[in-house]
């Protein structure tokens, strides 16, 4: 089992195969399941991601039960379609789809956790851009997800991917790093460049706290996935341009882990600190739980 990014890169270089292929082989060996079944399962995950994106931008979009998030992916879509955005159609596509996915998640719709539900929008945001820019077919989209999973497994096993243990850097930060690494592979970069993109993307979001208003996966989670997707794409471009991370990927993961461990509990998904503890955050919590405790 691969337990470090440098092991993945070295094995991919030695055998001249993409990192996505290494992880598919590992999955076949460890799960005692055929390549066809594994490929089809990942295909189902892809279908769920695409359906969630679609749902989030159809009509007026979706609304959460609390009413504090929803409908904003549609606003991004309309703005993008006018063609006058500052960051251009590519970035707006990523933003729109990341947002749509997490709005669907907040509305208790069906999503695919990548690696978590709170960070479920980041990878779809990245993938939607790659699909449009590089005209990816279904198989290439599935391969993107395998490559992202390879990097995510190292993070999950050597650090953490839960906001409760490591803050949002462990969720959206991990998702952004996974997306950056996989984007590089799909765009034709080298395994080493994937590792650089991963390290840059994660380093850029180190220290990000998990401070959900009212303890809900809504504010700021939904918009943080937009930042995750944008971070992934810009980091992938930096790596493809030949930039490197002076701190190697595995050391960035160790730093993330240490920061997560040092983070106070109030900033680890308890809904007690950060934005959740602002006057408006507290007022929203009262508004939601004060009148209807069960939220049903």
């Amino acid at each position: 089992m691969y337990t470090a990014i440098h092991e993945l890169v070295a094995a991919a270089q030695k055998r001249q195969v993409p990192i996505s292929e290494l992880i598919i082989e590992q999955e076949i060996e460890m799960s005692h399941t055929s390549r066809e079944v594994i490929w089809a399962t990942m295909g189902k995950n892809l279908d769920v991601m695409l359906a969630a994106e679609e749902k989030g931008v159809t009509g007026e979009g979706v609304q959460s039960a609390t009413g504090i998030t929803g409908g904003e992916a549609v606003l991004l879509k309309r703005y993008r379609e006018k063609g006058q955005s500052l960051s251009g159609d590519v970035m707006l596509t990523a933003m729109q789809n990341a947002m749509a996915t997490n709005e669907v998640n907040a509305s208790m719709g069906i999503i695919c956790a990548t690696p978590t539900a709170g960070s479920a929008g980041t990878l779809p945001g990245v993938l939607s851009v790659l699909t449009a820019r590089l005209a990816l077919d279904r198989n290439a989209q599935i391969r993107f997800l395998f490559c992202a999973a390879a990097f995510g497994m190292v993070v999950a096993n050597t650090a953490m991917i839960a906001g409760a243990t490591g803050g949002c850097q462990a969720e959206v930060g991990s998702a952004a790093a996974m997306g950056a690494a996989a984007a590089v592979e799909i765009a034709g970069g080298t395994p080493q460049q994937s590792s650089e993109a991963f390290a840059i993307a994660m380093a850029n979001l180190l220290g990000l706290v998990c401070d959900p208003v009212a303890g809900l996966v809504e504010i700021p989670c939904v918009k943080r996935n937009v930042i995750g997707a944008v971070d992934a794409l810009t980091s992938a471009d930096m790596a493809l341009a030949g930039l490197v991370s002076k701190i190697p990927a595995d050391e960035v993961i160790s730093a993330m882990k240490r920061i997560g461990e040092e983070m106070p509990a109030t900033l680890r998904e308890t809904g007690l600190g950060g934005l959740a503890a602002t006057p408006t955050g507290i007022a929203l919590k009262m508004q939601i739980f004060g009148k209807d405790k069960s939220l049903k």
Partner: protein
């Protein structure tokens, strides 16, 4: 510490009803373990939450998630948000308790889940470690406490005969920890912690000796 995430689908997946993989999908998975261990009708369910689970279970749908696991639903089942009502309508007494102290098994997302009927009582201590992946850190069958290392796969086998050496022969090379057996009045209870998912043939071999096999 063994690697807890052993499949690409622990990272890309699960497919689930939002909003939180730890608090919703992970809670379904904890409920599901209790369902499989208990595997008979239930009259009462008690859920005790600790730390982050205690603070945020309401907003994350943890209540209906854990109960839907107990009822055997998968995390993307459309009935998940209605599970508490469905359980109560079946006549099951459902109780949620927010514990003020630290998790007894040392994880911020801990649920202590007790299932009761006239004949038996089961409690599991489950931790949702992120992305929908869980650990079971302790199991209590009718007062018999079994500590577990946490990560799945975990196999429980009940048998009237002593079958430990046969189990060693089947799984020996795949043991994460030595198997343990507990002698209860008229039978043996084995707990097996594995490194990798068992092969279907291995489970078939165990079923040849005992029908009471639960693979988690």
């Amino acid at each position: 510490m063994p690697n807890q995430y052993r499949s690409v689908f622990d990272i890309i997946g699960p497919i689930m009803i939002g909003p939180s993989s730890s608090h919703t999908a992970g809670a379904v998975a904890i409920g599901h373990v209790a369902n499989r261990l208990f595997h008979t009708s239930i009259s009462k369910i008690i859920v005790r939450y600790y730390e982050s689970f205690a603070q945020t279970h309401q907003g994350h749908g943890t209540d209906y998630a854990i109960i839907s696991g107990v009822l055997g639903f998968d995390p993307a089942d459309k009935r998940v948000p209605m599970a508490v009502d469905l359980a109560r309508r079946q006549g099951i007494d459902v109780v949620f308790i927010e514990e003020p102290g630290k998790s007894p098994v040392n994880h911020p997302n801990t649920a202590e889940l007790t299932l009761i009927n006239r004949e038996k009582e089961l409690t599991i201590w489950g931790c949702s470690i992120g992305g929908g992946t869980i650990e079971i850190r302790q199991v209590d069958f009718n007062g018999i406490k079994i500590k577990t290392d946490g990560p799945l796969p975990l196999i429980f086998v009940e048998s009237e005969q002593a079958i430990g050496t046969a189990l060693d022969r089947i799984f020996g090379e795949n043991y994460r920890d030595k198997r343990i057996s507990v002698k209860v009045p008229d039978r043996f209870l084995y707990k097996i912690e594995l490194i990798d998912k068992p092969y279907p043939e291995q489970i078939e071999q165990v079923r040849g000796m005992s029908q009471d096999v639960i693979v988690l």
